[in-house]
């Protein structure tokens, strides 16, 4: 009897705790259904948002969530989300790209292109940093040279052949080879600082950044947060010339580092932050009504995530996937739409070509008749019959990411359905890359994140362009002269065109070296009671705090 009472008491406590933990979330859902979202708060479908220039709104203060801490503030240090926020706040580049492919000048006033691969860049003659040091051509040369030396932005600086001063405010930039995104990549990724300020800094600005940006670092607590206040002496006083990244509508803002992704949703719900781009797709439901509109008090912007998953085949002699028919059998057997849904839910996008709407050269002709290798089990079986496959077990390597793992398992199932055995192995990022680029790869097929980039060819180049490799073969373990010629044509700034890129894509699909798989539409939520309009960079993903319109 006594133990029964004890048991009853304990069960009551357990049930009470469970109810306490669970009741509020469902309660919020019910409340919201009764109070439908206002039309103005329904999410839009823009990619980048140009902030409205209000000038600094006195007393405005916003809080942003970010997944990583930049840890250092040097102008050319590497890093992730925290680094992007630092670059946007304290530093400035010569110019920025907009989502429509146009250039938005910042420190650069104008440029000319006197000959192939040569650019003369003229900067404003009144640029100065937050400490009053003037920025001249010497500082531009210094910044580019130091950035290239440090190597953190080698993806962009690798095309830099030389940079030299022409006059006090003009430099000449020479490129080694030129692709459509070479010059723009340099313009927007090399942060400009004063040589005097940099050399005068004891720690190469790692702790005390001095840039030309419209904000200055006020406070930084390692691993916790960083706060920026508007630079009262910002150099660009002509408001019509201020770039989106340099707007300063908000007087002060704090960026909080939230390492656990499930905490981003909670941070936004509790008001700890006004915006975060770290909300997991599984948590979107906390901010959305059943009809997809934002709940009362929230708004969001959405855009196609740059980059998507790709399936790459090892076409080398050591792999069973050297057989083109086997590769095509696999490509036709997989259901991309189901994979995208399984991994990303309603936000999932199936890709049947290498082009995204975010690419500057996006064109519907890249996906004729619904795209390439759409699910067709009969065709898959035909190709399998024609192949020399004899029941070998294929090895699939991938990164140990949840969404990737789900899709790998589905690929394994689809292959099994037509009689191909696949063994799935996942690894951490570093180890995976080691295996991916190994001289003697042990994988037959691999699922990896393709490069985002601004142009369609970038989605294929990282894997197939021989210029990225020193081993004489590309990631598919082959050297195909015809493929390389098509690459050189499609990526040269003079011969670049949609037709040439499509010819390249057609060739890749004809031989089935790699196929596109899936990606997703990302949503960036914000508190509509504190932010009226969220300013972002060209991807629509990274917020530009100063370009936001605060609600005062």
């Amino acid at each position: 009897m006594k133990s029964q009472k004890t048991l009853a008491f304990l069960l009551t406590v357990a049930i009470s705790i469970s109810l306490l933990a669970g009741c509020t979330r469902s309660g919020q859902l019910q409340m919201s259904d009764e109070n439908p979202t206002k039309e103005s708060e329904v999410g839009t479908a823009q990619t980048d948002i140009d902030g409205t220039n209000l000038g600094t709104v006195a007393g405005s203060y916003l809080k942003f969530g970010c997944t990583s801490d930049p840890k250092t503030f040097g102008p050319w240090d590497g890093g992730g989300g925290g680094r992007n926020m630092t670059n946007i706040s304290v530093y400035e580049a010569l110019a920025y790209m907009k989502s429509d492919g146009t250039i938005s000048n910042c420190i650069m006033e104008s440029y000319t292109n006197p000959s192939e691969g040569v650019y003369n860049v003229k900067i404003y003659d009144y640029v100065h940093d937050s400490e009053g040091n003037p920025i001249t051509a010497d500082d531009i040369v210094f910044s580019f040279t130091k950035c290239a030396e440090q190597g953190n932005w080698a993806t962009y600086t690798a095309v830099l052949d030389s940079i030299s001063k022409i006059d006090e405010y003009t430099v000449e930039i020479k490129l080694v080879s030129e692709r459509p995104d070479s010059f723009s990549g340099l313009l927007e990724n090399v942060m400009i600082v004063s040589r005097k300020a940099y050399e005068g800094s004891k720690d190469s600005m790692a702790g005390h950044p001095i840039g030309t940006g419209s904000y200055v670092l006020e406070n930084y607590t390692a691993g916790a947060e960083m706060t920026y206040v508007v630079n009262p002496d910002y150099w660009q006083t002509d408001t019509s010339l201020i770039a989106n990244q340099s707007l300063h509508n908000v007087e002060k803002y704090t960026i909080k580092f939230i390492s656990d992704k499930s905490q981003h949703s909670i941070a936004l719900e509790t008001g700890a932050v006004d915006n975060t781009n770290g909300v997991l797709s599984a948590d979107y439901v906390n901010f959305l009504n059943d009809d997809g509109s934002a709940k009362d008090g929230y708004a969001y912007i959405e855009s196609e995530k740059q980059g998507f998953l790709e399936l790459v085949f090892n076409c080398g002699e050591s792999s069973v996937c050297k057989d083109e028919n086997l590769r095509k059998a696999i490509a036709y057997a997989i259901d991309r739409a189901a994979m995208a849904y399984a991994a990303y839910g309603d936000a999932g996008l199936a890709y049947t070509s290498f082009s995204q709407t975010t690419h500057f050269d996006y064109d519907e002709s890249y996906t004729p008749d619904g795209g390439y290798f759409t699910l067709d089990e009969a065709t898959a079986r035909n190709y399998l019959d024609k192949s020399g496959y004899k029941g070998e077990t294929l090895t699939l390597y991938a990164q140990n990411d949840t969404e990737v793992a789900i899709q790998c398992e589905l690929i394994r199932s689809y292959c099994e359905a037509i009689g191909i055995d696949v063994d799935v192995n996942t690894f951490d990022k570093s180890l995976y890359n080691d295996y991916l680029y190994s001289a003697n790869p042990e994988w037959d097929l691999t699922v990896c994140f393709g490069e985002g980039g601004d142009y369609t060819y970038v989605s294929m180049a990282w894997c197939l362009d021989i210029n990225y490799f020193t081993t004489g073969v590309n990631c598919c373990q082959i050297y195909d002269a015809e493929l390389q010629t098509l690459f050189d044509t499609a990526t040269n700034v003079k011969t670049f065109s949609v037709d040439n890129t499509k010819a390249l894509q057609d060739y890749v699909f004809e031989h089935c070296y790699m196929v596109a798989l899936s990606g997703f539409t990302q949503k960036v939520f914000y508190n509509s009671t504190t932010i009226e309009q969220l300013g972002t960079t060209k991807t629509g993903f990274d917020p530009v705090p100063g370009a936001c319109v605060p609600v005062v």
Partner: protein, 309 residues
């Protein structure tokens, strides 16, 4: 301690040398060329032979007392650890304190009320605690106390209230273990002859429990608490990640993912040093708790003095 440190340094260096993985992946950003990766590997000295790299590491760590510079952040590993260790130390200490304050009385209460409702309740709490994954419990606490009631911050330690949820979440699993261990030790001790004698002498029950029995029962518990404290100094990666606590665990975890060798090696060497110190302090604590051990040391000391005379 010195041989232990040298061995730890050697083992961690050797493991990292042979473990596959490439730090250039995270350093060079999106899809660098193979030539760029090879150039950077050379620049970082990672193409040198094993013995050359090992020699450089031992020289910088044990002669120059320099733990190196992080590949990722270009900051001194020593400085970064100096910033993070106090945070982790506070976190570990608060967890240790809470475990001791709740776990030991819980165990004692269960033992002195053996087979009663209180004993079963204590055992139930201990088992539940040991069964709950810390990160899950942490998230539940966040949902209740931050999201529902808005009483405590969901993450971050910029205010003292930020420590409450992570410390509670972190101690929940070991709390049960401490309570169970205290209970079993207490049960063993309170059945011993000297406790029977104490009772026969008419000492009060409170004095018997807390002054005569508990010190003896605590010795293995102190060992567990000491080890736990040392382990907590190494960082509780999951809890630190959930609550965005910038401690050593998160630093080490990020470094392992990015193959930031100087950070991994430096952190492991420093943590090994701290663990050695904690083991030493735990041994010293025995003497404080158990008068028999204290007397033993005192007798040894006297014997040495006599023999010199």
């Amino acid at each position: 301690m010195i041989p232990v440190m040298l061995l730890v340094a050697f083992v961690i260096f050797t493991i990292l040398y042979f473990v596959p993985g490439d730090p250039t992946v995270s350093l060079l950003g999106s899809n660098p060329t193979q030539a760029q990766r090879e150039e950077l590997l050379q620049k970082l000295g990672l193409t040198d032979p094993y013995l050359t790299q090992l020699g450089k590491f031992f020289k910088s760590t044990f002669i120059d007392l320099d733990l190196g510079t992080s590949y990722q952040f270009r900051t001194s590993v020593s400085k970064e650890l100096a910033q993070r260790l106090p945070i982790t130390f506070v976190f570990a200490f608060l967890t240790f304190l809470l475990e001791a304050i709740i776990g030991i009385p819980l165990g004692v209460t269960a033992a002195v009320n053996q087979n009663s409702v209180i004993d079963r309740l204590c055992t139930f709490v201990a088992v539940i605690g040991a069964s709950l994954p810390g990160f899950w419990f942490g998230l539940m606490l966040v949902i209740i106390f931050s999201l529902s009631f808005g009483l405590l911050p969901a993450f971050g330690i910029t205010h003292w209230t930020g420590w409450i949820l992570p410390v509670v979440a972190n101690c929940i699993m070991d709390l049960g273990g401490i309570a169970r261990q205290t209970r079993s030790q207490m049960l063993e001790v309170i059945r011993s002859d000297y406790i029977v004698l104490a009772r026969a002498k008419g000492l009060s029950e409170g004095r018997i429990r807390y002054r005569e029995a508990l010190p003896n029962a605590l010795i293995p518990v102190v060992t567990t608490l000491g080890t736990r404290f040392g382990r907590a100094l190494g960082g509780t990666v999951v809890i630190e990640t959930v609550f965005s606590i910038p401690g050593v665990g998160m630093y080490l975890n990020d470094a392992i993912t990015a193959r930031d060798y100087p950070v991994i090696r430096g952190s492991v060497v420093i943590l090994a040093l701290l663990l050695c110190v904690i083991v030493l302090l735990t041994d010293l604590a025995y003497a404080f708790i158990d008068p028999r051990i204290k007397a033993q040391y005192e007798n040894q000391g006297r014997r040495k003095v006599r023999s010199r005379v």
